[in-house]
Each structure stands twice: as C-alpha cells, then as structure tokens.
Symmetry: C2
Subunit: 491 residues, 2 copies
C-alpha cells in the first residue's frame, strides 16, 4: 500500500488485502502506559507487538522526574515510617483531583495501589527507602518518597490524614549528578521486562487508523513506517497509549485554551491522535479541559515569601504542592503572580538544596519598604501594603488564618523586601481524553465498550478530573496500562 493516511476514519477489515504484522495484542505507544500494557498482556500469555512512533521506547515518561502516585500503605511508605490507607488515599484523591473524579477509577486505583507497587518492584523498578521532606518539585538526590499533592497542607490536611505518595524510582548515579531521572528508571526496567517476556516492538512506526470488522470490533491498526502504510492485525485487541493532546494546537484551543502556547512536561508526539482515532469509532470523552499546570519557580524560594496576584492579593498557601499553585495562578488568577519575599528569606532559600536551581529567579524589584515596592510593581496604593500588613500581623503569632500555611513556614516579611515577577510562568499538559472503564475498555458514547479497543495513559481521562498531583500520570498510566494489557490479552 502507499502512504499518507490523512484521515482517522476507521478502515474496514475487508479492504485489507494483506497484514504486514500480526499479534494477539497490538499496543500503540511505548511510554509508561504502553510498556505496562505490553508487560501485562505478555504475562497473560499473549503475543504482543508494540508500535512506537519514535526511534525508541520511553515516551514522555522516560523524560519525567518519575513520580508514581501510590499509597494505601506501600512497603516504601512503611519503610519510611508513614502510615496510609486506601480510604485516606481515596478521600484525598477525590477531593484534590476533583471535582468530578471517576469514583470507580479512584476506588480501583487506591485499592490496587499496594499491589501495583509490588508489581513495579517485581518488574525491577528500584525504590530507595528514604523520604524527602523539604519543599521542591522533586528530590535533589535519590530519595524515593515525597509529598506531591499537597496532602500535608491546607485545605486537605485538616480533614484527611496525610501521607506522602510520590514514589520515585532510584537512579543509580542521581546522587552524583546523573542525567537521567526517575522516569528513565521506571521505563528501563519495564521495557527490559517486556523484552524478556518476548514482547516485540517496531519503531518509527506511527499508528494512524484503526481497522474494524463488520461488527464494529477493532481488529487491527493501520500505521505509517518510513512514509509507507503498513497494516497490523490484532487477534485479541488493540491498546492505545500514545499520550496527551498537549501538542495538538487545534485540540488545545478547542478544549483547554488557557494552555495554548504553553505546553510543558510533554513531548511533541503528544498530538491527540489516539483520541481522534477512537472518536471516529464513537468513543466518549471526559474532562477535556483538565490540565496539569507547572509553576516555574523553585518551591524553596516561594514557600519563604507570599504569592500575590495581579491585584496584590494572596491566593494560595505557598506550602502546598506547586502544581496547585500553577493551576490557581493560570485558571483562577489570570496567570498573574508575584513572589514577595524579604532579603533574609531569599538568602535562606539560596542556601537550601533543590532539584530546580534554574527556577530560583532573581528579584525583579528590591525596596526598603512594602510601600515603595507596591509603587514599583505598579500595584494600586494600599493593596500590597495591606496584604503584607495582614499577613505579618498573624505571622507574628505563627499563624496564617487566611490561607492556612503551616506555622513553620509563616514568618513576618521584613526589610529589604523584593518581588519576583512570575506573570505567565506556567505551562503544562492535558489530562482529559478517552473515557475508559476500570478495565481500560474504551467506552462508546452509548456507554458500552468498543469491542477490541483498550486505552490507558494520557490519551484517556484517568484519575484526575481537574486537580492534579505529581505522579498521577505515571501512576494511572501504569496502573490502567496493566489493566489494558490484561483486558486485551483476554480479548
């Protein structure tokens, strides 16, 4: 056949005269969801073929920090001295990742979390039993556990017993400055396991269209390889795992327009194609507006000051998960943020360890008084002054009744005082996608599964409905990726 498949419309199986490849389970995409699906399907005895668009395995996962959101009392949590339960984990995820989370998915994910951790360990994913408790996007060294969702901060900590759930695989040379992070050390063992189980993979091969039989069942994939169209028969099922739509401008504009021009923590291959291929079969979607939002400032820095919006008002407790800061900034505060911090706090922050020294920005303005700073920043008279006045009044007593920042991080802002201009310092990736069952079947808009079609990872709507915690994507990608592989293997 010749090349240039320009449509995502399904191809009727009767038109396929010859299959170039064949397997029980065909997986599109070799990131965390695809690798987990491949391993799980192979463990079920299926003959598995993975199609990967780039020249190698990894996807966005291999470039990620590597957090996997797990809990409910994993061996790593216990080894680090933390108690957790599936119930507390559910309560937190429902609250922090909502509103509108898929309750069935949250239940399955939380109840299966310890088992999933053990499965990852069996696959060879290494975790070091040490906890990183300082502020930061990720540990600067090779510690294996961190708070990554704001569990130990307001407003959640008041009602839900907190536990750290960010599990990060250990990179052997991370302590000594190795370049590859936790995401690589998740993907390397998974793909090694996959290969050991006999999973085959073809690279530079991009899934373009699904093939369906007369009954509507998905029985294969049409892909392009070096400009030529090839056909792959799936005897039992196809698993879609090609990532988010963060780099599909048209889709971002249509569903998550605040993210236009600011994709981050994502890769250009995240073009939403898997979503469209399934939509062409009548697949349902969910939470298409949901986005992870990174805030490009070092937490060691901003936790020691106050973040104010374009009106000079505080808007979030600075000791929470920095991704919550990003979402609050972009979605609730017109992407306007300034960090106000005094010299002593700034200097103190400079002396702390961090994984993100490049996010320690220089002050944009430095003044002797807040009154001067307010004027320099162009804020209306009295706005920043009263914000600092109220903050300082309570901080003198170690309290933050306005936003509930923990006492240990609450200190009156003194002089000299600086502000760092963080307007527009956000970016992220999309979290919405195909609606899937807890067994990772792709659901038709009628509510029924589309026979032969499974999906996992960021081409699906996973555990997040809007809110986010670092590790939720590698978490649900691997968790529901396994289920996709298992379901497909059963056919």
């Amino acid at each position: 056949m010749t090349s240039n498949t320009t449509t995502v419309r399904p191809r009727p199986a009767v038109e396929i005269t010859q299959w170039d490849h064949e397997a029980d389970v065909v997986v599109a995409g070799y990131g965390v969801a695809g690798a987990s699906a491949a391993v799980a399907a192979a463990q079920e005895g299926a003959d598995v073929l993975v199609l990967e668009r780039t020249g190698g395995w990894g996807g966005a996962a291999a470039m990620a920090g590597g957090f996997i959101y797990l809990g409910g009392g994993t061996p790593l949590q216990k080894a680090c001295g933390f108690e957790d339960s599936a119930e507390n984990m559910k309560a937190f995820m429902t609250e922090a990742l909502g509103p509108g989370v898929d309750a069935e998915k949250i239940d399955a994910y939380c109840e299966g979390s310890v088992d999933h951790y053990n499965w990852l360990v069996e696959c060879g994913v290494p975790f070091k039993a040490s906890f990183w408790g300082e502020p930061g996007w990720e540990p600067p060294g090779d510690d294996g556990l961190q708070y990554t969702g704001g569990e130990n901060a307001a407003p959640f900590s008041a009602t839900i017993p907190p536990a750290p759930r960010g599990h990060v695989p250990q990179m052997a040379d991370k302590q000594s400055g190795g370049e590859k992070g936790g995401g690589f050390m998740l993907m390397k063992p998974l793909t090694d396991t996959s290969a050991a189980l006999g999973v085959r993979s073809v690279y530079d091969t991009r899934a373009q269209t699904l093939v369906t039989d007369e009954s509507g069942r998905v029985v294969g994939v049409v892909a392009t390889q070096y400009g030529k169209e090839i056909t792959i028969r799936a005897r039992r099922g196809v698993v879609l795992a090609t990532g988010s739509f963060a780099y599909n401008d048209r889709m971002v504009e249509a569903y998550a327009p605040r993210l236009v021009g600011r994709p981050a923590a994502s890769i250009e291959e995240h073009d939403g194609k898997a979503i469209q291929m399934a939509q062409a079969l009548g697949a349902d979607l969910a939470h298409m507006d949901a986005t992870e939002v990174a805030f490009f400032c070092d937490p060691q820095l901003f936790i020691r000051g106050i973040l104010v919006n374009g009106r000079g008002q505080r808007y979030i407790n600075e000791d929470t998960y920095p991704g919550r800061v990003g979402q609050a900034t972009l979605i609730e505060n017109q992407n306007q943020s300034f960090l106000v911090i005094d010299e002593a706090a700034y200097e103190e922050a400079q002396a702390t360890p961090t994984a993100t020294p490049f996010l320690r920005h220089q002050p944009s303005w430095v003044c002797e008084t807040v009154e001067e700073l307010e004027a320099e920043m162009g804020l209306p008279e009295g706005t920043l002054q009263t914000t600092v006045e109220v903050y300082n009044k309570h901080a003198a007593k170690g309290a933050d009744p306005v936003l509930g920042k923990k006492s240990e991080w609450v200190r009156p802002i003194g002089s000299p005082v600086a502000a760092i201009d963080l307007r527009g310092f956000t970016g992220g990736f999309t979290l919405g996608g195909l609606r899937t069952s807890v067994e990772s079947e792709v659901l038709h808009v009628s509510g029924e599964p589309i026979p032969g079609l499974y999906a996992a990872g960021r081409c699906t709507a996973g555990v997040s409905a809007g809110g986010y915690a670092s590790g939720a994507s590698l978490g649900d990608g691997s968790f529901f990726g396994r289920r996709a592989g298992r379901s497909a293997a059963k056919g």
Copy 2:
C-alpha cells in the same frame, strides 16, 4: 417497529423497511435553533418537518428573558443612539467570550449581525427602540436594548468602544406585568412564520438515533412517539437542535463538574442526546467545559456595594455583566461570595426598578463597624477591614484602581454596614457541544463535514469558548440555526 431505542448508535438505512414520515429537511428540536432552521430551510424551498419532544414549540428559548446578542450597527442600536461596528463587536466577543473562540464563527456572526436582525424583524419579531441603562439582569419593562456582556465596564471598555448588544423582543403586555417575556416573543413570530411557510411539526416525538446510508451520509432519524419507534426520512439533511447537556448528569460530571447540581436557565429536555447521536458518527466536540453562570443576586443591589470572596478579598468589578460575576465566583473563587454594603446604599437599591426583585436578599449580618462585621462573618482579622479600607481610600476620590469599577458606582462604604451571604448562589447551563462549521455542518473528528448532518444552538459549541454574554445563545442559536436550515435545504 417496537419501542425502546436505548442506544445512540446510528441505524443503517438498509434496516429501515418503512418510513413513517418524510421531508427534505428534518429538524430535531423546536426551540430557537430549530425554529430558525425550519424557517430558513422553508425559505429555500425545502419541505420541512420538525420533531419536538415536548407538547409544543418553544424549548428553553420561550422561557428565556429573550436577549439576542446582536450588533455592528443594528437599526435598533441606531434608533437608541448607539454606534457600533462589526470590528468592535468582534474585538469584544473575542476577548470576553474567550480564550479560544472560533474566530471564523465570530467573524461570520459579527459581519452577519445586522442582516440577522433584519431577518428576525421580517419574521415578525418586535423590538422597541428604547434603551435600559440601569443595572439589571434584564429590563423591568419592555425596553429593547441593554448592555449584556460588560461592554461598558472594565476591563473591556478601556480598549474596545462599547455598545449595548442585548436586543430583547417586546412583549405587548410586559409593562403591565405580562407573564411571558422576550423569549416567548421571539419564538411566537418564528414559529408563526414557520407555519405560514408550510413547515410541518410533530410533537411528543423524541429523536433517538440517526439513520445513515452505506456511504455514511445521514438520511433520516429514528424517533419515539408515545412509546413507539417511528422513522423519518430526510431527503436532503437532518438538523440537530435539541439544546444543551445541562440536565445530563453524567455528561455534566464528565465535562463541567462545577455545574453538578446547579443547572439553571435551562430545561430538563436538555439531555445532551443530540451531541451523543452525532458523536456516535465520529462528530468532533469543542469547549465542553464552558458554562454560562448566573449569579443569584440583583445587580441593583450588588453594584452598590463590594463583592468579596471567602478570604474577604474583592475579585471583580461589581458594575460588569452579572454573568461574569457568576463565572468569577464559581470558577475562580470556589463559589464563595459575600456582598458588603452599607445601609444607605442598601436603601437606595431598594428604591430602584428591577426585573428581579426576588434576588434582593436580606442582609445576613448587620454591624456598626467593618471590624465587627468581619468577626461576625468569620473572616480572619484584618482581611475585610483592609479590603474596605483600600476601597474607601480610593472611593473617596471616585476611583477603583483595583478593579476599575466606574466612578459613578464608587462610593465609600459607611456605617451601619451589612453583608449578604451569597455563597453557592450560582447556577447555569452548558455552552459546549458539537463542533460545527460556519455553515452549521457537523464536523467529523477528521475535520470533514458529516454528510447530511447539521446542528445549531446549545447542542453545538457556538460563539462562546468559556466567557459569556446574555443573548449569545439565542443569538448564535438563531444565527447558525438559519445557516443549518439553509445548508440542509441545499443538501
């Protein structure tokens, strides 16, 4: 055939042994989009049949206040002494209804707005050439023109020359307290025109599924009528116009979860079915999270005080379109709002005319000082006090540099001072839906039109991508409804 069509999957035409009805153009839904489509299709010479689920024409439109968002220099705008241009209208809609508006749709809508006004007048829709300039959700009398998007308020008025664009049909007995509003007086002439043109309609008939031929073209509708399934052949095209998904709990939870439990300005028939029927054919969607959000408080009241969030901070200029207040409250401020107003302003508001006297709430707390009020409301010490202090300092000079409320509405807050608890006082309807072309063709996820299928109104993503102005739904529903009818008639 027997009843109980439980799936939205398309029905193959070859399975239809007998057509119960037949027309050139079949329209599902007899609200504003359906009526406009029916009239336009009939004007093109098509034989038109409208299927309506309820016992009569009207839809949500007939119960609405009746605003139609029009501009660019309509005869009504001119008669009321306002200048406007398509360019200014585009600039405003792009800014206020975004981010992410469909630029092609905005262009078509603004450039065709004067013509559309004239068409409505030709259909018999009456407009009274008088302007209502006081704060309010709608005019208390029968005035025909009002600002309904915040055009004359910050932040838009600083850069885009404002013009009122809320055109409301005149109800003959509205001045004397007639029960039916502008929406009825839009729908009555449209459906009278439709009937005069020979359009047929069948009531108590609910569209359930689309019928497609072997090429994928839509050639009919399967509907239920008194529990029985009936089939309707569409020789040229089908127009979907059955409204939003505000009453489909599953869809609201999946796409716009902040609106769960708070549908408003909508009707129970808005179940998203048309969206799903088209999705089953591979139709694309857009802006599924977008929602209109009403704020259940009388503008005459809240414009005279300040609105503060759960932290005691102001968050919006109180003189803007109240729907913007609703969106800012629900989406950006955790649905937390309090109106702080002094006794003099409260009394003054009580003496003003309004269409919504039932939204003039009693004070929840009344105190001599803001300090006492702050404590009564349970706000952290200093928060509300400094908010009022900063507001009053600038208000003494007639200015509001923090949020830009117009000078005429800015007055220092005195004593006694009250607060009205408006937490959770929001509700609304969904704005997202099928992605359509400017000719109202339903677009497949591949980008191409689905042959024979057209849609308009709130089952489509129209001119809004998130922001809103009153009249945008009757506006784009009628505007793109006409185009849907015309396109379908051409086949």
